[in-house]
Symmetry: C2
Subunit: 326 residues, 2 copies
Amino acid sequence: MNNERTLTEASISANSKPKRTLGLAVAQLGPVQLNDTRESVVARLVAMMREAKSRGAEFLVFPELALTTFFPRYWMAEDEARRRFFELSMPSPVTEPIFRASLELHLGFYLGYAELTSDGRPFNTSIIVNRNAEIVGKYRKIHLPGHSDHMPAAPFQHLEKKYFSVGDLGFRVFDTDGVRMGMCICNDRRWPETYRVMALQSAEIVVLGYNTPSVNIHWNEPTHLRTTTHLISLQANAYQNGIWVAAAAKCGSEDGHHMIGSSAIVAPTGEIVARSLSEEDEVISVKADLSIGEYFREHVFNFAKHRRPEHYRLITERTGAGEPIA
Amino acid sequence: MNNERTLTEASISANSKPKRTLGLAVAQLGPVQLNDTRESVVARLVAMMREAKSRGAEFLVFPELALTTFFPRYWMAEDEARRRFFELSMPSPVTEPIFRASLELHLGFYLGYAELTSDGRPFNTSIIVNRNAEIVGKYRKIHLPGHSDHMPAAPFQHLEKKYFSVGDLGFRVFDTDGVRMGMCICNDRRWPETYRVMALQSAEIVVLGYNTPSVNIHWNEPTHLRTTTHLISLQANAYQNGIWVAAAAKCGSEDGHHMIGSSAIVAPTGEIVARSLSEEDEVISVKADLSIGEYFREHVFNFAKHRRPEHYRLITERTGAGEPIA
């Protein structure tokens, strides 16, 4: 047996990838009350764009359904929901200041909103906008949580399955100012398939927004788990795909309904490198070195070398859990 | 809008699943030196079986390649490796005491070993054995890490791709003394596909063993990541599948080559509920309530309700990372 013991300079030099940095920031949004106007929310978003820019940000992540209160907690007719909470166009006169600030600040962003298409289909949607204020990608939420029926005994509703259709655009990635970027929304972040499909398209970053109630209406889940399961989902999926993950909460108490904060930026090492402390409007930011992900994608998670899709078939062949395979 | 605020007794009662407990233990194994005999290792394993039983264990998890030193770190001819480190049968005269203790103690177990089949194929293998000392399931490692060529500049080798064939049995689950149990080995634990395929067969627990060098020979990875990435992989995959995960290290310094410890038992909440502290032989144990996983599998991870395999196709259609889909 032959076993050399010295790590040579040759093997260490494999470590010297050129840094490739991105100013990456998350704009956590405190509560948006039912009666707050979209104009007031847009002003808060634009203020955080200016702060992020002043701290070196080149890309800023806003929450899911950022323009209004988290309305799926309320039971109402679909028509009423669409009239009050959905966007018919993006940008629109009311959201145009966000795009104007993007252009002025040369700052890209991710934004979540409720989308009603011209042919009347409702989606929980997000967009990626580049530093020239151009929409380069759109995503429509695939993993809709909650229920579609009225649960009068629950302290609030979670009616995403009532108000939204399942997204029809898949999990795509978009080259955005030199960075290959994927996105998802809220509950998607708990599903490993979400990140894997984007990593298989060579994503370097996945960005997302969320609204996560502090109380689980379906069973008496210990409250602290709402935050810990959020964080380990981001951490493990960043690591297991060698990508950066940036996640923006809408949080705090919206008309008495509390949602978790803990917006976070996670490195491809699985480590949380920035995390919000408040449950209010708060910008967190890092100078993200994209080259860090390459070490993981070239070695432990070199998909071409190590993945064995012939043994993964059940992932696409089955939807629900079933019996053992023979 | 109609929004009830009281959590009724009706909805709380959905929380009262009958407990279904399993005495679950992990037998971490300290170093096995190159010149240690298999007999001496088996004696250590049997001693830990007695300790686990005395602490209420009904099932005990041993490490990967538990019977010898972690030989893939050494460059040698395949013939030499097979002669010195592989098992031609299981049980064999030398491993029979483990099975005898299983029967005597009414204690099931998971054991990893190098398997040479009767037709000469080499696998990194594990078995699940029930409380009657019967082998109920076998697994052959699918995600073989490392390399097959000689890396003379590296401080040691990681030659699993040289000494082992890729497993040919898939990721299966086995009903074992009333518990639906899956298994994997070492590097498999970092791949979300591993757990998902077993969760789609209604696994309640996944057990595994590992040998993880403290030094990454491929790039200058910060040492602490070797442990943190191990733990977040267990945690997130336990949570995201609503399963218990129990992982046993072989650890400490084998002839100067150090491996991480941190054997752990993780609940379906994603929380580490037991963790080894030493880098020696050490038993950790919990009384695992299997019903906890059901809350997650019925609600947030109700696969039938929420999964969308039509958007996961790339996971089985692609092996390596490629270009964006249109």
